[in-house]
């Protein structure tokens, strides 16, 4: 198993690098869109996220045409809802991810979704928000990026397959050709490391 991991790491030099520094500050751009309906700021967001929302849709099984349409619809929603974006509640990327994911559930799976990411739309106060939790969401997202990039690649890969690509443990085992038990233990290890690095306290992990 260990040998296989090493080979896999050498083959795959992708997954996660903190390329964030080169990226624009998407929260600021979103706020600019929301407050001023600034089309240039929207175009910047579009250029970055539309191709990536499309790749997300493709990964989750859409055909090219549908994926492109959903990417455009997602970005249109970003435009429409930008006024409601609150940087204290979510990082820009988290917010856009939720819109894309929910749109996919609505249109592709034709299912209801029960996410309360729209609570900001309804003026419901998030009563569970920690009072001492004053680190900005963008900063938190950055901390998680750093913590993720500190993980061994096979762990970040499995986290992505599981929580982003939406594969079940057995589908991951098939795809990576590793035993189911290894999948489970890697996820457990990855979350152990993340919790340690982020000082997450509560919650059982896997």
């Amino acid at each position: 198993m260990a040998d296989k991991d090493v080979v896999m790491n050498k083959q795959r030099q992708i997954v996660l690098e903190p390329r964030e520094k080169e990226l624009p500050n998407f929260s600021e751009l979103l706020i600019n869109v929301g407050q001023n309906q600034n089309k240039a700021a929207f175009a910047d967001i579009f250029q970055h996220f539309a191709p990536r929302v499309k790749s997300y849709m493709l990964k989750l099984g859409s055909v090219d045409e549908v994926a492109e349409e959903l990417a455009q619809q997602t970005l249109l929603k970003v435009w429409r809802k930008a006024q409601l974006f609150d940087p204290e509640k979510a990082a820009a990327s988290t917010w856009i991810f939720r819109i894309a994911r929910n749109l996919r559930i609505d249109t592709l799976r034709k299912q209801k979704h029960f996410f309360d990411d729209d609570y900001d739309l309804e003026g419901i106060v998030d009563e569970q928000e920690d009072v001492e939790d004053k680190v900005s969401r963008e900063q938190k997202s950055h901390n998680i990026t750093l913590a993720l990039s500190a993980l061994p690649q096979e762990q970040t890969r499995i986290i992505r397959l599981s929580f982003y690509d939406g594969l079940s443990h057995s589908e991951i085992a098939n795809q990576l050709e590793i035993p189911l038990g290894t999948v489970k233990s890697r996820i457990r290890l990855a979350f152990g490391h993340l919790r340690k690095n982020l000082h997450l306290e509560s919650g059982e992990m896997v």
């Binding site: 964030e20 790749s55 455009q72 990327s93 979704h113 029960f114 996410f115 609570y119 992505r160």
Partner: protein
């Protein structure tokens, strides 16, 4: 309310990725709506999802995609008003009105069952066990229901084909895993067999979603299951 039993990362991750069936999603959402821990963990997983999106390999979009979208922007109304078809905002606004009077029923569930648990039209399925099938959601092959278990009564031993999620709305039960009180969620996967028993003088009311029919180990419950549609 102090919650001792939480969602597994696997279930929470599938919820975050948007791959659960509707009925299971509803129970996950019901638990998250009252559990600060699980809500926080959901936010963390969504943050990871956002990071993955931000750094994903881009797919090629058509050269006029931005232009086409920009043209549509002009036609968008600002501020955006949600259409009545948006079910999540519908159920939430209904929930908001009920927020004070109905703490027993978690918000996401309020669109699907009577406002008060005592108004549920229970159907007896076995001595001491009543059942209410929740309608209006896709169950695949599974079930979504409320169960009311009289004090001291146990659900016959059973296993599961897929996920079984049980959230306690009232009272408590115990099984081989532990004791589950109001707000707790039992997040079981297929390798667990259990025999829950309502363990106080109060009836236990649970919200239960399964991915597939329960596998009762003995014949009589299987017959009851057949006739009740449980």
């Amino acid at each position: 309310m102090s919650i001792h039993h939480h969602l597994s990362d696997t279930t929470l991750g599938a919820f975050t990725a948007g791959t659960l069936i509707e009925t299971i999603s509803l129970v996950v959402a019901s638990h998250i709506s009252i559990c600060p821990d699980c809500r926080k963990r959901k936010d963390q997983l969504e943050t990871i999802g956002g990071i993955q999106l931000k750094i994903a390999e881009p797919a090629g979009v058509s050269s006029d995609a931005l232009q086409k979208t920009m043209i549509k922007l002009g036609k968008q109304e600002l501020p955006h008003v949600f259409s009545p078809a948006n079910t999540s905002s519908l159920s939430s606004s209904r929930g908001a009105a009920l927020n004070v009077c109905n703490p027993e029923v978690p918000k996401p569930l309020r669109a699907y069952i009577p406002d008060r648990l005592e108004d549920v039209e229970w159907k007896p399925i076995a001595p001491g066990i009543k059942f209410f099938a929740i309608e209006g959601l896709k169950t695949a092959n599974g079930t979504l229901s409320l169960l009311k278990i009289a004090p001291g009564v146990n659900i016959p031993e059973h296993g599961h084909h897929g996920i079984e999620l049980t959230q306690v709305l009232k009272g408590s039960f115990s099984d081989e895993i532990g004791r589950f009180g109001v707000g707790d969620i039992a997040d079981l996967d297929s390798d667990i067999k259990h025999q829950p028993i309502a363990d106080t003088s109060e009836a236990c009311i649970c919200l239960i979603a399964t991915e597939a029919p329960l596998k009762f180990t003995s014949l009589l419950p299987r017959l009851v299951q057949y006739f009740s549609g449980m």
